[in-house]
Symmetry: C2
Subunit: 361 residues, 2 copies
């Protein structure tokens, strides 16, 4: 089992990466909030707070439900709460732990690939209020993060691909050495956490989190360095809109990165390697996945692009690769040309991706 220590302005927390140790770790908690979708091996006598996680309960009412359950489960000032699940569980547990009796310790065990390979560290909670997405939230790091890669064994392939896309993005943003190492370590998404690739899966996870660690420690509050982790995301968000949110976010990020590469075509070996990697991810998806990519609404794409939060009145902002392989936040004037070029790049990336879905190699 390996571990990382993440420094934050509120102290340091440990990230343990391994396989098969989740149940034991969780049984040391006072109570544990678990998404019933996660097949958690029984955590002994630890009281379980079942919380069916979805966007609709990422609300203050959802947080309140958890707070009441924590009280009923005997959580007190010196207690520690366990949280086992994906992003919504992390959001709700972060806020609940931060305000329960003015703040208690908590331990987070991510169970989605996106959470394991990316969002389990540097997390900020995001809670919807009155239908306004992510209006409230805060920063309250867990005491420990338990990344048990074996939990990924039951995940469907598109959820795995989604996590790999964010992981590839992080390592690409970390520079060519970190991306080369990612490619060298990466078993395919289908192999991740299989009995024969457990060791590589652990090494890969640790590598990705170590690269992300640099970003979150250098720029805890998302002011500069960390912003380039939005690579692919301006395109991805607009594509999700154009495809009516029918695809996992991470898959949209994969296509979004391919679009960003096509948009300003840096023709570096790293860009080509990333583009090839995205194509390889498409091939791992089942053939019928292409149905979810079939009817993009390009007007909706353009409206989403124009309302991107990163932009200003005069400019749209994209994270783009330069000739030297580095990523940076770049401004483009809000002209018809910018919009048309971006749309053409996204259209090309989506077509390329769709063509490769389910393709035999």
């Amino acid at each position: 089992m390996s571990s990382l220590s993440i420094r934050t302005s509120r102290g340091t927390y440990e990230v343990l990466v391994g396989a098969g140790f989740l149940a034991k770790e969780i049984s040391a908690q006072t109570a544990v909030i678990v998404d019933p979708a996660v097949r958690l091996t029984t955590p002994g006598r630890t009281p379980v707070i079942a919380f069916e996680a979805h966007e609709g309960v990422k609300t203050l009412a959802g947080v309140e439900r958890v707070l009441i359950s924590m009280h009923e489960a005997g959580v007190r000032r010196g207690s520690s709460l366990g949280a086992v699940g994906g992003g919504v569980i992390q959001d709700v547990a972060t806020l609940a732990s931060s305000i329960y009796m003015r703040g208690i310790n908590w331990t987070y065990a991510p169970t989605t690939m996106m959470a394991m390979l990316d969002s389990c560290i540097g997390g900020k909670s995001s809670i919807n209020v009155a239908g306004i997405k992510n209006l409230v939230g805060n920063i309250y790091p867990p005491e420990r993060v338990i990344v048990d890669v074996s939990v990924a064994q039951s995940l469907p392939i598109e959820a795995r691909i989604a996590g790999y896309a964010e992981a590839a993005k992080i390592c690409f943003a970390g520079g060519s050495a970190s991306f080369d190492q990612f490619l060298a370590l990466a078993p395919t998404a289908a192999q991740f956490a299989s009995d024969t690739h457990m060791e590589e899966s652990i090494l890969l996870t640790k590598h990705v989190l170590k690269v992300k660690q640099w970003f979150i420690e250098t720029d805890e509050f998302d002011r500069q360095e960390r912003l380039i982790l939005n690579f692919g995301h301006t395109f991805a968000h607009a594509l999700e809109s154009a495809l009516d949110f029918a695809l996992p976010h991470g898959v949209a990020v994969a296509i979004g990165m391919a679009a960003a590469i096509r948009y300003n075509d840096p023709r570096t070996s790293a860009s080509r390697a990333l583009d090839d990697y995205v194509a390889g991810m498409a091939r791992q998806l089942p053939g019928d996945f292409s149905g979810r990519l079939a009817h993009p609404d390009w007007e909706r794409f353009q409206r989403a692009l124009e309302s991107d939060k990163k932009g200003s009145a005069a400019y749209l902002r994209f994270v783009l690769a330069a000739q030297d392989g580095s990523l940076s936040l770049q401004e483009r004037d809000r002209s018809r040309t910018t919009i048309e070029d971006a749309t053409a790049a996204a259209r090309q990336a989506l077509e390329d991706f769709t063509r490769r879905v389910g393709e035999q190699t």
Copy 2:
């Protein structure tokens, strides 16, 4: 206008003490949450979020209502929220500001005597969940505290007395020099913020907050030094219970301090001066106030005393004065004698106080 700078683990904030400057300060805020019970001079075009403050809305639903109003009022990441009111407004605004868009600046203007002379600094939010009092909360200091003593002009005498009781307690806990200075500065509660005593009221307020400042800076998280600010409170809480919460908390604190003095009778000049001061507060109350002190349930008093949160399985804990005038947290075994002695002291203090209510000097 005078100012204090309070240091906390999350940075420093300013406390401005003066008269007649609230409206101007508030009009600089993006929006302001105000208890309609407060007669706030119009804050120009600043959007006002009316929030009728009482214990029943000190809930997450109440906080959510404020969050939605903040969004409607145009509060954004760089905005500052004003909050004008007593403890409940402070509680709700603390939590709302701390999580709105992951935390925005806020400015607090206390409008009760308790808040002006005590709780406006060192504040921690307390929110009820599912009827469990103060189950959640956090620490999120305002950017600025605006203490405009002229706001107190409209307050009824018992609310003034309540504030003075906490102020006397803080200065007594601060040592004989600080208590002497309190007595020298203090206009009577009835005179506080009157046109002829505005300057003394400002000096008094600043003195009390300066004494409290030492406690909260020395012990931000209530671990040691700050605990002695609970002087009188073990008795006060049990008395509130015995009198079915018919009296303001601060008045119960006044009687509670007199009870603590009677309980271990330190016979110091400071203790006598405090006891005289409490008697003087009773005299300032209107004659009919004694009706609210008339039917104590001493069995309920004893049950409340026995379940006091500061105690352990073996001991009850009181903050008591020693022969040298200093206050300390002292343990008494949970014997019948302890309970009977404490009840006798409280009974005596309540009788002495009641006899003096409305007494002409």
